[in-house]
Structures are given as C-alpha cells and as structure tokens.
C-alpha cells in the first residue's frame, strides 16, 4: 500500500473518530456529521485512484456507474423519507451495508483458498453480513407494518440457538478443512440469511429499537472483518467504532426499557405473552371534551406534555407545537417530557418534535422531569401509553414491570388523548387511564389538539 494512501486513510480514520465525537453534542453534531462524511469521501476517492494496479478504463466506468447509481438512490431515499419512518430507513440502509459485506466475502472466498486466516475472516464476514441483511429487512418490514405476525412456536429460541451453533460449527469445519467448494460458501450464505430472518421474526414491536441498534453494531463488525481481510485500517477502525458504538447504544436502550439484552434476543416480548393482568377490573374511565380540557390547561400554572408515537402517526407534531406556544403566551409553563424510548427508536421523539420547530431546551429527559410531575397542574399525554403505565412500578406480573417510566400519575390532573381504549404497543392495560385524576380525551391526536387550540384561542 502506498504511503500516500495510508496517510489519507489515517486522516479519514481521525475524521471518523472526531465526527462521531462531535455527533454527541447538540451544538457540534452538524459539523460532526460533515467531518465524518468528508472522511468517508476522501477514503473512497483515494481507494479508487491511489494504487499501482493497471486497471482498464471499463472497470473505472463500472465503479463510477455503481457509485453514481447508489448515491442517487441513497440520496433520494434520504430526502424523501418522512421523519416518522426514520427507524425503517436506518434499518434498511443497515441491511444494505451488511449485504455489501457478504457479497465481498463471496468473491474473495475463491481467491483465498488455503489461507486459514483469510478464510476465517471471509466466512465470518459472509455469515454476519447475511444475518444483518435479512435481519434488517425483517425489522424494516415489521416496523412499516408489512410483516405483522409475531411467531411464537414452542421452543422457538432453542431451535434458533441450535441453528446458529450449527452454522458456527459448520463454518469452523469449512475453514479448518480448507474447503474450496463454492457450494459450501453459498450454503453458509443461505444459512446466515435464514438465521437473520428467524432471529428477528419473533422479536416483538417494543423491542425493535434494540434490534436495529444491535444489527447496526453487527454491520460495523462485518465491515471491520472485511477490513482485516484487506489489511485496510480505515475499514477496520471505522467498522469497530460502529460496532462498539452500537453496543453502547443497545445497552442504553435496554436500560431505558429495563430489559436485559438476553431477554430481548431470547425471550419473545411484546404482543402475545403480555396479556397478564388484563382480566382484573380497573374501574371506570372519565371522558372529557376539548372545551373542558382547554379550560383546565388555560388556568394551569404548569403543563407537561408527554408525547408518544401516536402523536407522530396522527401527524400532530405541528399542532402540539402550536398548543405549546399558545399556552406559553398565556403564561403557562410548558415542557415536554421525553421518555428515552419514546417513538420507534431512542431519541426519535426529539427528532419528530424538532421537525416542527420545538425548541430542544423544552424537551426534558425522563430523569430530569420525573421529580417535577408532583408540582405540575396538568399533564397532557398524547399518543403515549406504556411509557406512563404505573404497572411498571407496582404490578410485578406485568411484562413491563421495572421499566423506568414517566411518573405522570403524580401530577394534579392528567389528560390522556387516545383514539380508542385499545392497549398500547406492548399490548398491556394501563391503569393510569382509570385513575380518579385522569380524564380521557378520545379522538385522533391531530383533531383533538386542533380543537384544543381553537378552544384556547377563544379564551
């Protein structure tokens, strides 16, 4: 490798680290993204142009064509996507990265017969790449609703675990015997693809963010493995950075939901086994109307808004911002309480509210706002459910028992906007709705908030 290429790779690697670091602070995040992207651009350009191979022009044209096509598709998807669909998009992009790693392995396998070190990296690159590809596609399908079923056959996880162990055993066998048959490598690719599907399919709705983050981390590892194959430092370090960052994020998310990583992967949660406790009588609910709800908020000193994914589904982010501004004008102290897993991935709600120009300093994280609920006059819960469910504190039989929640129940009054009485994403009853301090404002979030705003304007 020429020294100039090495130096450019070094600069790109530093750009990755610096970019990632800057991405972690609101004020510098935009620069961080640009720095990382520039690092990537110079690394790619240098790879194409700095080498001592004699490359026919036709191959350059092909590479250029591939880069243009992919950039156009990726750029177009990035511009078109709705912010509510962000988790799906991240998942899809991630799957493409995994697929790329697997394809590289397929080509390199035949060229590296006999070298065990290379064969190890190639085979593991193919398997991990294949798992992330099919797993990400399933996660994408589950998030956008095209794959609905939560498969739970008996001993599912046992079967799954035996399957992955069999794949690993077969891979080790292949490598140690120096097998050179292309059929074997396609077999491993197929097995990886099937495992990716089986791995994600039983994991239910509420745990999907964890899965995306985990798959993201795996793609990083696949990239790093490919880096080892080519002794390419920028791929190695870039991949490992993503891999370890992904693990940290995954753990942070698990903490947000009080779940262990093992329980997410090995215990199908969300959807089927979570009806525990629903048969007990929870009392009756109280309905309200926009006019009464508006009066409550108008005469409150402090209001905390708890937004959930239902808000985004109803496209009500802009109306809620209008409501917040209106109340602030009237001298009410308004804040948003953001649960770490509000939305469909961590931090998703912040993005959704930022899109409608909400000042991010009004978005208060769970730990900081929980102690304020008891001094708050009105909590307005919009499209959120599980993140304010007191069962997390006091019902050991509940599947969400132990999950940190927003203590909305401590406020003096609670207004809950929901479309119907249907259970939330995790499929659990919520006793907050039956609390004597709670009133229910039924209706589509956008319609309900719009009426609230017009009622407030008339006061």
């Amino acid at each position: 490798m020429s020294i100039s290429l090495s130096i450019i790779y070094l600069i790109a690697t530093i750009a990755f680290i610096l970019g990632l670091k800057k991405l972690g602070h609101p004020a510098t995040a935009k620069n961080g993204n640009l720095i990382a992207a520039s690092g990537m651009a110079i690394a790619i350009a240098a790879t194409i142009f700095i080498h001592d191979l004699q490359i026919p022009i036709s191959i350059y044209i092909l590479i250029g064509l591939a880069l243009l096509t992919g950039s156009a598709i990726g750029g177009w998807m990035a511009v078109k996507v709705k912010m509510t669909k962000m988790p799906e998009l991240v998942s899809l992009f991630n799957g493409f990265g995994g697929a790329s790693a697997a394809l590289i392995g397929l080509v390199e396998f035949s060229k590296n017969v006999g070298d065990k070190m290379q064969a190890t990296t190639i085979v593991s690159g193919i398997i991990i790449g294949a798992i992330t590809f099919s797993g990400s596609l399933i996660a994408w399908g589950k998030l956008n609703g095209s794959i609905k079923s939560v498969v739970t056959i008996p001993r599912y996880n046992t079967i799954n675990n035996i399957f992955i162990l069999a794949i690993i055993a077969f891979a080790v066998f292949t490598v140690s015997n120096g097998a050179s048959d292309q059929a074997i490598i396609f077999g491993l690719l197929g097995a990886g693809l099937v495992y990716g599907i089986l791995f994600v399919l039983p994991i239910g709705g509420a745990d999907m963010p964890v899965v995306i983050s985990l798959l993201n981390s795996l793609t990083g590892i696949a990239a790093a493995i490919t880096g080892i194959l080519y002794s390419n430092m920028v791929m190695l370090v870039g991949g490992i950075l993503v891999g370890s960052a992904g693990i940290i994020l995954t753990i942070a998310m698990c903490k947000g939901m009080n779940r262990t990583l093992g329980a997410v992967i090995f215990g199908a949660f969300g959807g089927t086994d979570s009806t525990a406790g629903t048969d007990k009588r929870l009392g009756s609910i109280k309905k309200t109307n926009p006019s009464d709800a508006a009066i409550m908020m108008n005469y409150a000193n402090s209001v905390i808004i708890v937004p959930g994914y239902g808000l985004a589904v109803a496209q009500a982010q802009h109306v809620i911002h209008e409501l917040e501004e209106l109340l602030t004008e009237k001298g009410v102290d308004v804040k948003y309480a953001i649960h770490p897993v509000a939305g469909r991935m961590p931090g998703h709600m912040n993005v959704l509210l930022a899109e409608s120009n909400v000042d991010y300093s009004l978005l208060v994280e769970m730990e900081d706002i929980n102690s304020h609920f008891k001094n708050t006059d009105v909590v307005l819960v919009v499209g959120a459910n599980d993140v304010v469910n007191p069962a997390a504190h006091n019902d050991p039989s509940s599947p969400i028992y132990g999950m940190p929640i927003l203590d909305a129940e401590n406020a003096k009054h609670i207004i809950v906007n929901k479309r119907t009485m249907n259970a939330g994403y995790a499929g659990i009853e919520n006793e907050l709705f039956y609390n004597s301090k709670t009133v229910m404002l039924f209706g589509d979030a956008k319609d309900a908030l719009t009426s609230l705003v017009s009622e407030l304007k008339n006061m």
């Binding site: 992919g70 998009l89 991630n94 080509v107 993201n216 190695l236 960052a245």
Partner: protein, 102 residues
C-alpha cells in the same frame, strides 16, 4: 497452541488496533444525551457503509472478464454507497432541524 501463538504474533498490529478502537468507540459514544440517539445511530450506520471500500477493491482487483466478481462487486458498491450517502444525508437532514430558539 503453537498455531495460536503464531497467529497472535503474525497479527499483533491488527489486534492492538482492534482493541484500542473498541475503547475509542465506547469512550466516544458514552454519555451522549438521549436527544441525539437517533441521529447518532443513523450517523454510525452511515459509517458502517465504509465496507463500500472493500467492494471497490473487489472491482479494482477483478479481471475485466470475471463477470462473477464484477457483478457481485458492482452490487456491493451500489448497496454500500446507498448506506453511506443515504446515511449521512438523512443524519444531516435530522440535525438540520435541531434548533435552539431565543
């Protein structure tokens, strides 16, 4: 055992970099506010598209008449660069929206 020792001594440099990179990754990401989790995840996702370099190398190193390698390499480059460009673009789009008003 000898094989393992040989492996370690052959790849000592890579092993060093691997371990240090894990620590850098953990230290860089630790304590990031939840506000930024989604952009961070999407930015990290874009970075994992670095695998596109491998796909480019596949294409550069293949014979002009090796259609198997060229086809897979081509698809690999397309998919990898979608991950890179799409990932950075959408991260930028999200961050664009984070504003602090006065």
């Amino acid at each position: 055992m000898n094989g393992l020792m040989q492996f370690i001594s052959d790849n000592l440099q890579i092993i060093y970099i691997l371990i240090l990179a894990v620590f850098v990754g953990v230290e860089v990401i630790k304590n990031i506010p939840a506000v930024l989790h989604t952009p961070l995840m999407s930015g990290a996702n874009a970075l994992s598209g670095v695998v596109v370099i491998g796909a480019i190398l596949v294409m550069l190193q293949s014979d002009p008449d090796d259609y198997f390698a060229l086809t897979l390499g081509f698809i690999g480059v397309v998919l990898g660069i979608i991950n890179v460009v799409g990932g950075f673009a959408v991260t930028g789009r999200m961050l664009q929206m984070f504003k602090k008003k006065n």
